[in-house]
């Protein structure tokens, strides 16, 4: 059978610089950061004092109170973004064949928040027992399961965990499943809510977090010569993927088309990226091959760009490797410059950015770009967004463990 076409018909996002699509997009267009001083636990013991906490998020707006009480924060984000995306898509689930509606969600770490609370209870004096809801609250697949329960999605259902690439892998796998006829609609993207004491300490002790605490909004500065690590953040980004004819038959509004996806491994290290950039280059080439389009067609790259010395350098090398001299003409920007690194949510939030970039023909900036790094000398759309003709976008996500993903989005040009 021929591969079917897949389009994006709904968006939902919760990020530290905006809850809801229009708030979030406005912040991105204006170059506004959501990074701040950590408020949810004491950071006296650490030299990093900043994160991208989502503030003023009220789960009861998006789900019944009984559900909100019983699930972890990452599921709050998943259900909230799904509600936004389904409403945005105007899908009437009553009319859908529920066996053909799936939920494939990325999450690197699942219910770590509740896991830590249980550990604290266990070691408290006097010790408290583990709560019976621990298993369903902590399991990473709680997010795809609760989406299925809430919305009656009885198609393919899974959570994909590949660290920082989780959401991109989820979207890519969902894309392929729709292409090949396993389902017609899919809630997909990623969520993460792990700004917790233990998890924060885990990343801190790896020496990958930025210590630029003085001006928190300026700490995340991808590609800048003075970058010193990423800023941990949380959030969710969900898109509704739909088979094209299914979308057209119900007069859905189409944001963009998903046309290609590839995943691979650099097979070198659990933390350090492949510094040659070869694996990242290969995943971009493979995604373009999957899309069946020439690399000349790429108008914009939404980079992984975490603001670590290693990633940004390797990614720049990879882009040059793929595009040669033309790399200098392709605008590249980093969503993480404004919202930090939301781990398993990143690829989902960045997919929302790509869909809106195509809708509005606008590239959000890489903010906090002040000092040129000779090893990162491409066009990173520094500090100010850019109105430009956009048709084909690459979205990169490279997870710890050399787990790579690349998705190709394009404008929908009709049948």
């Amino acid at each position: 059978m021929d591969k079917r076409r897949v389009v994006i018909t709904g968006l939902g996002v919760v990020a530290c610089n905006g809850i809801g699509v229009e708030n979030f997009w406005k912040a991105n267009v204006e170059g506004r950061s959501g990074i701040g001083k950590i408020t949810s636990f004491n950071v006296d013991a650490f030299d990093t004092k900043i994160a991208g906490e989502v503030r003023n998020f009220d789960p009861s707006q998006y789900m019944p109170a009984e559900v909100a009480k019983k699930v972890d924060r990452f599921v709050h984000f998943g259900l909230a973004c799904t509600k936004m995306a389904i409403e945005d898509s105007r899908l009437d689930l009553e009319k859908e064949d529920r066996h053909r509606v799936g939920a494939v969600i990325g999450s690197g770490l699942g219910g770590m928040m509740f896991h830590e609370e249980q550990l604290v209870a266990h070691f408290a004096q006097p010790p408290r027992r583990c709560h019976p809801s621990a298993v369903p609250r902590i399991s990473p697949n709680a997010v795809s399961s609760h989406i299925a329960i809430q919305y009656g999605c009885m198609g393919p259902n899974m959570v994909i965990s590949t660290a920082c690439a989780s959401a991109s892998h989820a979207i890519g796998e969902a894309f392929h499943k729709i292409q090949w006829g396993d389902m017609d609609v899919c809630v997909t993207g990623g969520v993460e809510a792990t700004i917790t004491l233990l998890n924060f300490e885990a990343y801190y002790i790896l020496r990958v977090l930025s210590k630029r605490n003085d001006i928190p909004e300026a700490a995340s500065c991808p590609f800048d010569k003075e970058r010193d690590g990423f800023v941990l953040s949380e959030g969710g980004g969900i898109v509704i993927l739909e088979e094209l004819n299914h979308a057209l038959e119900r007069n859905a509004t189409i944001y963009a088309e998903v046309i290609g996806y590839a995943s691979n491994s650099g097979a070198r290290h659990m933390v350090v990226p492949d510094l040659s950039g070869d694996d990242a280059a290969r995943v971009m080439v493979d995604a373009l091959k999957d899309a069946g389009i020439d690399r000349l067609k790429v108008d914009y790259i939404n980079a992984h760009a975490t603001s670590t010395v290693a990633n940004d350098r390797a990614e720049t090398k990879a882009i040059k490797n793929v595009f040669g001299e033309r790399a200098y003409q392709i605008p590249i920007s980093s969503t993480k410059s404004m919202i930090g690194h939301s781990l398993g949510a990143a690829g989902g939030i960045e997919a929302v950015v790509c869909a809106l970039a195509i809708r509005d023909q606008f590239i959000p900036p890489t903010i906090n770009y002040k000092h040129k790094d000779p090893e990162c000398d491409l066009d990173y759309v520094p500090n100010e967004g850019r109105k430009t003709q956009l048709n084909t976008i690459l979205s990169n996500s490279f997870g710890f463990g050399n787990c790579n993903a690349c998705i190709v989005f394009s404008g929908f040009k009709g049948l």
Binding site: A65, E66, R129, H131, P132, S133, P136
Partner: protein, 82 residues
């Protein structure tokens, strides 16, 4: 500590678990057929009761309780409440 206190507390814990008005829970209410508690819900309720009354509810006792009164009577007997 009295039998009435046990009744009141058990009703409150059940009501919280089921997100319902404790006034709608009677001693004769059947846990499964009237209150709709499933196997996971009964484990959670047992946990809260054990915490509140400082006692252990073994699996057998859990399975045998069919009504609210069964739970109340079990706790009252364990703790010597009248």
């Amino acid at each position: 500590m009295s039998y009435d206190y046990v009744v009141q507390t058990v009703k409150e814990i059940l009501a919280k678990q089921l997100s319902m008005d404790p006034g709608k829970i009677n001693l004769e209410s059947r846990l499964v057929e009237d209150l709709g508690i499933d196997s996971f819900g009964s484990v959670e309720v047992a946990f809260e009761l054990e915490e509140k009354f400082t006692l252990k509810i073994p699996d057998a006792a859990l399975y045998e309780a069919k009504t609210v009164k069964d739970i109340v009577d079990y706790i009252a007997a364990q703790k010597g409440y009248k």
